[in-house]
Amino acid sequence: MMLTKTSWNKRIIILCMLPAILFYLLLGIIPSFLTFIFSFTNISGILNVSWKFIGLANYKEFLLLQNYRDTINTIERTIIFAFAVTLIQNILALLVALLLNNNMLKGRNFSRAVVFLPSVLGVTVTCYVWTLFFTLDGPASTFLQWFGLHSSFFGSQTAAFPLVIFVQIWMSLGYAMVIYLAGLQGIPTEIYESGIIDGTTPSQAFRMITLPMLWPTITVNVLMSVIGSLSVVQTIVLITGGANNTDTLAMRIYNSAFGVGKQIQQISGSTLRQGYAAAQSMVLFVIILIFTIAAQYLMSRRDKQI
């Protein structure tokens, strides 16, 4: 049977996609499905150790047998972290992108590189730099002392969490800015020129042209921020290890699964409990799903209004 050119092209396309699909299945879908299955087991994560299905025991332990107040606090912190990072990061990234998209600005490319630099540095370097900055004899402490003030920064139970949020925003602002810049550069200049002829002010141009044309980019950035910030672990591990009221749900999952962090025994009772960690991951997944759907719904509704 002779293949037509169209069906041959389709097969080639499928063949070309096959490696990516296989990788996605192997590294994305199958592990996610297995995590769901393992959440009903007492698997430890130690190779060859026998494990069995224990029904809803892991979910019961997390939702009913942990200290209720501490569990609620952790979930609250997770949501506050995601909300603050998403909101502040996107507003700042958009403002910086608008500024750096201005042709009149001198040293535009240099400024873009500077803003993007923290994203290149990586989490470890960034966290180390800020830890040094906020240490007892560091620049931040010296600055506060000029005004007779004092803070323990990452060692403070009240200041540590906002500062971790700040570091996370500082680190990921560059990526968000680049995406906004790409979006801004995709808006045809003719529309702005027409607007100028019609007498639009800069603020009207932003509200009536930039914002509607940029909305799909904003949606992408917001969704990426929500998903990313709900599952942030590295920043917290490296800066505070979850101490001083900075542990989020993702941090707890790491504690249970791998024993990473500074309050391991206190939080999870023991380490290497991957079945229990899987159950917590499922709870986090539900939270991420709810927030993603809510964000997508609100963004698309606004998109239609625009």
Partner: protein
């Protein structure tokens, strides 16, 4: 013809690409192993491998121990030129993860094991099995019960620190105490201060220092645990029977807010008030530098810091005393602590002969002697020639070494954050709880809630 050739070429290329990518993912370093019929030689005590071997070792980060192990490994490779030891060091909080992944991949030969705190008493219900016990029960850790070098070690240390279900799985590197405080001898001498032997004397020392504008104490407060772990020393100092106290908390005979326990909370709050301002922003990694620089006269911490203090300033004069109780005893306040880590082997390693050679080498008195003098721990081998002045200085307070309360108490699963003696939650240390009584009440409330769920 042309089309079918193109199809064939495309399919071959795509298949090749796919295979390359998948195979690339699965490639791992093949460990250098001894051959299936290894060339070995038996000496008086140990079988010796003659094949080239690379032993992979994993350690948690402690500068003094890491340096001492490096020196030991170099000496070992000089004696056995065919064996090289490659060590990977990670921060303490990440060691469990490293151990798990390396064991799963079979990519380790010598590792740190800890068997001393894994027994669960009858009165502690619903406890999870410690991960070390799981590795041992899974057959991952080499059983060295019948190895001849075991007899070189203190049998008590072998029994209490390295034995699980009657079998020996490691060689303990030494004991450490962490119920005490390092003090700057020069500052003490210049101000006419003596090492305190009662709580009252300790407070007088702190007050005297403060009156001369000298900061009494510093600690790595940012990391929380360096201050938080001190509560355990208070129990050892103020409770005559820490075992009965731990059991009593489970049976309800004792409470965190009963009058006897409240005394400890009060003492801890008083203790916390003598730290330098901003102590909770001091990183643990930098605290030794601050102490050696004279920014505070005392530094509560474990004896494991001793060699790092000497490294930071070889001329710095310092001593160590245990947190004192209310009454003066016949002996000065005694040390409480734990057996530190033990070194064991991976049971399924193909380099078993070389692992046993390394453990045998470590067990030789002259090698262990160099090691223990370098790290400044209390030795777990008898008849060691102690050259380390710090270890010698501990002698009077090491006559009745106790297990630190932290290892005796077992928290009920899911217990809240206030349970125990969480002094970091006090306002004086940047927390939100104003008074010791308030913290004790919260501790008992969290403890009761967790106990109710466990029972």
């Amino acid at each position: 013809m042309k089309k079918s050739l193109m199809k064939a070429v495309t399919i071959v290329l795509m298949t090749a690409l796919l295979f390359t990518m998948l195979i690339g993912c699965g490639v791992k370093d093949t460990p250098k192993t001894e051959t299936s019929t290894p060339k070995t030689e038996t000496t008086a005590d140990v079988t010796v491998s003659k094949e080239p071997v690379v032993l992979k070792m994993i350690e948690h980060s402690n500068q003094a121990t890491n340096d001492a192990i490096k020196a030991l490994n170099e000496k070992f490779s000089k004696k056995y030129p065919n064996i090289t030891v490659e060590s990977t060091v990670v921060e303490g909080g990440q060691y469990v993860q490293l151990m798990q992944t390396r064991l799963a991949a079979g990519d380790v030969d010598i590792l740190e094991v800890s068997t001393f705190a894994i027994a669960i008493p009858d009165w502690a219900k619903g406890q999870d099995k410690n991960f070390n016990a799981q590795f041992i029960e899974n057959g991952d850790i080499l059983d060295i019960t019948n190895e001849p070098f075991i007899k070189n070690w203190d049998p008590v240390a072998i029994k209490n620190a390295c034995t699980y279900n009657g079998k020996v799985y490691g060689l303990n590197i030494g004991k450490v105490a962490y119920n005490g405080i390092f003090y700057n001898k020069t500052i003490f001498e210049q101000n006419g201060l003596k090492v305190p032997e009662t709580w009252g004397e300790f407070i007088n020392v702190c007050k005297s220092l403060q009156s001369k504008s000298i900061v009494p104490m510093t600690a790595g407060g940012k990391d929380v645990w360096p201050i938080a772990m001190m509560w355990s020393g208070f129990v050892n100092a103020f409770e005559p029977d820490p075992n009965a106290f731990a059991k009593g908390l489970w049976t309800g005979e004792r409470k965190f807010n009963d009058p006897k326990t409240l005394i400890m909370f009060d003492r801890m709050a008083e203790f916390a008030s003598y730290f330098e301002e901003g102590v909770t922003s001091v990183d643990y990694a930098s605290v030794i530098g601050r102490f050696v620089a004279g920014k505070a006269a005392m530094m509560p911490d474990g004896t494991w810091d001793a060699s790092q203090i000497t490294t930071a300033d070889p001329n710095f004069k310092f001593g160590y005393f245990a947190i004192p109780g209310d009454a003066k005893g016949a002996q000065p306040p005694q040390l409480a602590g734990k057996y530190d880590i033990s070194y064991g082997g991976y049971a399924k390693s193909p380099n078993k002969t070389a692992i046993l050679q390394w453990l045998d080498f470590f067990s030789q008195k002259e090698n262990y002697s160099d090691f223990i003098n370098a790290i400044g721990f209390i030795p777990t081998m008898t008849g060691i020639d102690i050259k380390n002045d710090f270890i010698k200085s501990l002698d009077p307070i090491n006559q009745n070494f106790q297990t630190n309360f932290e290892l005796i108490i077992k928290n009920p699963k899911g217990v809240g954050k206030y349970a125990g003696f969480q002094i970091d939650q006090l306002k004086v240390l940047g927390g939100s709880i104003a008074t010791p009584k308030e913290l004790a009440d919260l501790a008992q409330k969290d403890w009761d809630a967790a106990l109710a769920l466990v029972k």
